[in-house]
């Protein structure tokens, strides 16, 4: 009887460890948050070119992560990329209307993310608003092309 108890205990620990492992993979490795959706608000921004930005990429302010990219689709009216972002709700009503969004790159070849910087407009962005002032991703080929053509002009 004693032995079967230790077996059961061992198996229980094993299953528990498996579940904890899965939680670790969810929270720590794939960055899921347990927070309810109500704690965020949504902003949109149109970019002429998003480079390699992907859903779930970080949205930062002054280098601090404040949200994630929720979805990216093509705006068929202007033929540019429409990026929806979810930001922490504590920023709701704090960002000025002329806030700019730029797609930045971590390191030379690293992941791309959205960087926000605040302007001076007294009016604030609310849930569902669109950021007007955006800056596209740097595309290496375009940079090189500009560089080469400016060389030719010289």
């Amino acid at each position: 009887m004693q032995r079967s108890k230790t077996v059961e205990f061992g198996v229980g620990l094993f299953i528990l460890a498996g579940i904890l492992g899965l939680v670790f993979l969810g929270l720590r490795v794939s960055g899921l948050t347990l927070g309810a959706p109500s704690e965020t608000f949504q902003l949109e921004a149109n970019f002429a070119n998003i480079g390699t930005l992907k859903p779930r990429a970080r949205v930062t302010m002054a280098g601090v992560t404040v949200g994630r990219v929720e979805s990216i689709d093509l705006d068929t009216q202007w033929f540019d990329a429409r990026v929806k972002m979810r930001l922490d709700s504590e920023l709701e009503g704090q960002l000025s209307r002329d806030t700019t969004a730029a797609i930045l790159t971590a390191g030379l070849l690293g992941e791309q993310y959205v960087g926000l910087s605040v302007g001076g407009d007294p009016e604030a962005l609310e849930d569902g608003d669109t950021i007007r002032d955006t800056q596209s991703a740097l595309v290496l080929e375009e940079l090189i092309q500009q560089f080469v053509s400016s060389m030719v002009k010289d």
Binding site: S4, V29, S30, E111
Partner: protein, 267 residues
């Protein structure tokens, strides 16, 4: 001369046909076998038997799987770092380690280790029970050995391997962290944040788990069937044990290609 060549040709076609038939027959027997074993999730007395098998199949495989996971994570970080540093992209180390583990290495390597550690033991154990007439005697007592002996083992294998795979991934990622961050000096923040922004829970962790479930089913099925179907002599047991490891390794690697093509290859 021609006639002899012709009759040889016919003979080899006959041999091929006979082999084909016996393979199909074995597959059929294996299917009936698994269908008759897995009627209903174990409950009551079956649950106790299942727990016992979870111990033998799962808990006792934990050590080898975790140690292997740790080393593979560490090696991945070491190798990845030397490649990534050439591109100045060592921040992507976390992404590389976690994606290779979650999508590929954890399910496959854990399944191979599981086949070697637990699969061969299952085959030998059931084979020994067959050789010592325990299965026949169970049948004569009026208990279906498929329900009593085979089913708990099948279920235990099916549940254990995914759990072991999770353990493998976690320990591997931690091993990568030890080597990459603590030793080679990648920044801790970029190791984790890069990982978090590139790993998608359902696409990466989820697909890895699906792979692992498929492997668990196949490996345990092969192991248990080989044990049940072997020739009950000591030579038969040793051959069946070898077959278990060979067949399940091949099945895992082959299925891995198919599953990867379907999940990540855009098929």
């Amino acid at each position: 001369m021609f006639l002899r060549l012709f009759s040889r040709l016919v003979a080899s076609i006959v041999r091929l046909g006979r082999r084909g038939c016996s393979v199909i027959e074995a597959l059929g027997r294996a299917s009936i076998f698994v269908a008759r074993s897995v009627v209903g999730v174990p409950s009551g007395e079956g649950l106790r038997l299942w727990l016992r098998q979870m111990h033998f199949v799962g808990v006792l495989s934990l050590a080898i799987v975790l140690v292997s996971g740790l080393f593979i994570g560490m090696v991945l970080a070491l190798q990845g770092y030397t490649i990534l540093i050439d591109f100045g992209a060592e921040q992507a180390l976390g992404q590389m380690v976690s994606l290779s583990l979650l999508r590929e290495l954890a399910p496959v390597v854990a399944a191979l280790l599981f086949a070697g550690r637990a699969g061969s033991a299952l085959t030998a154990e059931i084979g020994l029970m067959k050789a010592t007439e325990q299965l026949t005697s169970m049948e004569m007592i009026g208990v279906d050995p498929l329900r009593r002996v085979v089913a708990p083992r099948l279920w235990a294998g099916f549940v254990s391997l995914p759990l072991l795979t999770i353990g493998f991934s976690v320990v591997g990622i931690w091993g990568g962290y030890l080597v990459g961050v603590q030793w080679l000096g990648v920044s801790e923040g970029s190791y984790w944040s890069n990982m978090q922004s590139s790993v998608a829970f359902f696409a990466d962790v989820g697909n890895g788990m699906i792979k692992s479930l498929v492997f668990a089913l196949v490996v345990t099925w092969i192991a248990v069937f080989q044990g049940y179907d072997l020739i009950p002599t000591s030579e038969g047991i040793s051959r069946a044990t070898t077959r278990t490891v060979v067949y399940s390794s091949l099945a895992v690697l082959g299925l891995d290609f198919v599953l990867t093509a379907v999940m990540f290859g855009g098929l």
